[in-house]
């Protein structure tokens, strides 16, 4: 076991992992904005993937503004940045990006001795906040990618 499953360590891993996902799959820079206020998106697209095991449960949410989700989708699909991408394709790209983020976290958790399984991705569209369940720790990581903001929301409960 090379790491301890505690929220700060999870956040540190997820920060590195999001930067890697953006760089590798999108060729886009992303950098953590420390102590950032949560941006207000009029409309957002959120990918979510849950994870569950004997000693750990939770979920990862990836929040993108609707225009930025379109640009991210164009980048992953190899289209020009301003090309409109169909709703189903945007959903699929955001879901897959969330799946990569959570798959990485699952591997990190399993290597730390907290075995768990992950769900398939779900997509939520709208202007809303995700409620955390009681006893579940929640952390927001805000990233900057060019002029855009990306939020990774982590819910985790250690049993």
């Amino acid at each position: 076991m090379s790491q301890t499953v505690q929220l700060p360590n999870v956040c540190e891993f997820m920060t590195r992992h999001l930067v890697d996902v953006f760089d590798t799959m999108l060729a886009m820079p992303a950098a953590l904005v420390p102590n950032a206020a949560l941006p207000h998106f009029e409309e957002r697209i959120t990918g979510s993937v849950g994870f569950a095991g004997d000693t750990v449960t939770g979920a990862v949410y990836l929040h993108l503004s609707t225009p930025f989700a379109n640009r991210v989708s164009a980048a992953m699909l190899g289209l020009p940045p301003e090309e409109a991408v169909g709703e189903n394709d945007v959903n699929d790209v955001v879901g897959e990006a969330t799946n990569m983020l959570t798959g990485g976290l699952k591997s990190w958790l399993c290597d730390a001795g907290a075995n768990c399984a992950v769900s398939t991705p779900a997509i939520i569209r709208g202007a809303f906040a995700v409620e955390a369940m009681p006893d579940v720790a929640r952390e927001f990581l805000v990233f900057e990618s060019g002029a855009e903001r990306v939020i990774v929301e982590i819910h985790i409960k250690l049993n």
């Binding site: 799946n99 699952k106 399993c110």
Partner: protein, 128 residues
């Protein structure tokens, strides 16, 4: 004759990336959206290589791989697992099932070409 590659992934995005990756090469790409469809496509198309996702609805990649290895007509088709999960347990589990290689998402297209090129012949298409 073109190298036939079957991409099995529930994400259309990943199937598109796989298709784009092999576009410069003389390859024919077939697609399936889950393990069940993947098994049917493998039996129908007899691909030279399968690029297989792990976490999928209906039938996951590990189950599909197990069924593939039980089928005398399909068991020799080489498989590269494409997974978002790189944990030791996960890697050991898929290694035991007889995959030729695996690639962890996120991945660069050249990594996929490098791994596929070790298993099948990838002939660059002549410049148009």
């Amino acid at each position: 004759m073109a190298t036939k590659i079957l991409s099995v992934d529930d994400s259309r995005t990943i199937r598109m990336i796989v298709g784009r990756t092999f576009k410069p090469y003389d390859c024919q790409i077939c697609e399936a959206g889950n393990g069940e469809e993947g098994l049917a496509a493998a039996a129908r198309e007899k691909p030279d290589l399968i690029i297989l996702d792990v976490t999928m609805p209906v039938m996951d990649g590990v189950t599909m791989l197990g069924k593939l290895k039980e089928d005398p007509a399909l068991k020799t088709i080489p498989v590269i697992m494409l997974t978002a999960e790189s944990g030791r347990e996960n890697v050991l589990q898929i290694a035991k099932l007889g995959v030729r290689d695996y690639l962890v998402k996120p991945f660069k297209e050249e990594q996929l070409i490098e791994k596929a090129g070790r298993i099948v012949t990838l002939q660059k298409k002549p410049a148009a």
